[in-house]
């Protein structure tokens, strides 16, 4: 016969600093810098555009391709619980993410979530979905010197003499619009917002 103490469920994988430290480096929670991790169609487009850039002598530095959906889930809900926007018992479970948000009381649950917010350096509410998560976006820095003689998707050479000599940096420097036009022929699109993310290109600009 079970004693009352034995009936108390022991909560495992509680949210908190320890959970983040134990999991954030695992492949299921890691972002990628590999083009091979992108969605198949966008991947082919990126490879073709990248080859054209390299053939033209441009320098390329990739910082992010596909971002982990699991990582986004943990960061999103950690922020919401920590900020009191949702109670821990209302966080939906996600297949592949073994985490217990509800510590049994609100104070402990918020503390656990806040520990993840702090450990993950979250400064603003993360999104659950994006082109990066779908494998349809890339953050890369493209620079060159002199004129850039680059072939578009149709094989026509485009000579870019205009400034600036980069594909986008920071938030106000959206990069060379002639290069953006070339990228678009490959299905790699740069956003046209006033406030942009300089290195960000995607399937639709978002």
């Amino acid at each position: 016969m079970a004693t009352p103490a034995a009936k108390i469920a022991i909560k495992k994988n509680l949210s908190g600093q320890n959970w983040w430290t134990a999991n954030q480096g695992k492949p299921a929670f890691s972002n990628s810098t590999s083009i091979d991790k992108l969605d198949a169609t966008f991947q082919a487009n990126i490879k073709a555009f990248k080859k054209a850039l390299e053939d033209a002598g441009a320098s390329i530095q990739i910082s992010t391709t596909r971002r982990s959906e699991n990582r986004a889930y943990v960061m999103h809900w950690a922020w919401k619980v920590a900020k009191g926007l949702v109670t821990a018992d209302k966080v939906p479970a996600k297949t592949g993410v073994d985490i217990t948000w509800d510590h049994g009381n609100a104070v402990a649950s918020k503390k656990g979530a806040q520990e993840i917010v702090t450990a993950a350096r979250i400064a603003y509410q993360p999104s659950l979905t994006s082109n990066h998560i779908k494998g349809k976006a890339i953050d890369w820095t493209i620079t060159w010197t002199g004129d850039l003689k680059i072939k578009n998707k149709l094989g026509k050479e485009v000579v870019i003499k205009s400034m600036p000599k980069h594909g986008g940096q920071g938030q106000s420097h959206n990069g060379n619009t002639e290069l953006h036009a070339v990228g678009k022929t490959y299905g790699v699109v740069k956003a046209k917002f006033t406030k942009i993310d300089g290195p960000h290109w995607s399937v639709d600009g978002k």
């Binding site: 980069h166 938030q171 917002f193 978002k206």
Partner: protein
């Protein structure tokens, strides 16, 4: 004479091009006396000014919620352990903007803010927005923060946000996705 004109032209182009390439912030009202401005993520102050000394005081406009005024003090250079913008997933882009990073202390807890290296005595809060004359032109500036798709845009405006060009802008690359709120 011709070579001198050529040199002057070269200098002008170099300055303009240099600013276009490398300036992470920009100033629309070049005539006004803008103080040094940067942005904050908790205890980390990111600013283009190098060599700010320990004890330097900041006027702070907090932006993670209803805006409020606070103060902070620089306590030293920041490192990747203490400074969110220097975390692995975002250090490269933030550092490449030519920013310097400082640790600060403040009696007010905040997540995101704009920091100004100046004493601003005439600030007030109206409808949850801070109004403060930071450039001494007699007119109060206003402040905003909005999300791009993977970063935050910090702006100082000569009047109502997004009605004119900002007089200062800063960008924080977060390294993760957020819902866009910037227009």
């Amino acid at each position: 004479m011709k070579s001198r004109l050529g040199f002057v032209s070269f200098l002008f182009i170099a300055i303009v091009a240099g600013g276009y390439f490398f300036a992470p912030t920009f100033f629309a009202n070049a005539g006004a006396k803008l103080p040094v401005i940067g942005w904050l993520d908790s205890n980390c102050f990111a600013v283009t000014k190098k060599g700010l000394s320990n004890g330097t005081e900041l006027f702070v406009v907090t932006l993670d919620g209803p805006q409020a005024v606070a103060s902070a003090t620089i306590t030293g250079p920041a490192n990747e352990k203490s400074c969110g913008p220097l975390a692995d997933d975002r250090r490269e882009h933030n550092a490449s903007q030519g920013l310097s990073f400082y640790e600060i202390k403040s009696s007010t807890a905040f997540a995101t803010a704009i920091g100004i290296v100046a004493k601003v005595a005439n600030a007030k809060v109206k409808n949850e927005h801070v109004l403060a004359d930071i450039d001494g032109d007699g007119k109060p500036e206003q402040f905003s923060m909005c999300a791009t798709s993977e970063g935050l845009s910090f702006d100082v405006w000569p009047s109502e946000p997004f009605k004119q060009k900002p007089i200062w802008s800063g960008y924080y690359y977060l390294g993760y996705d957020v819902e866009r709120t910037c227009p």
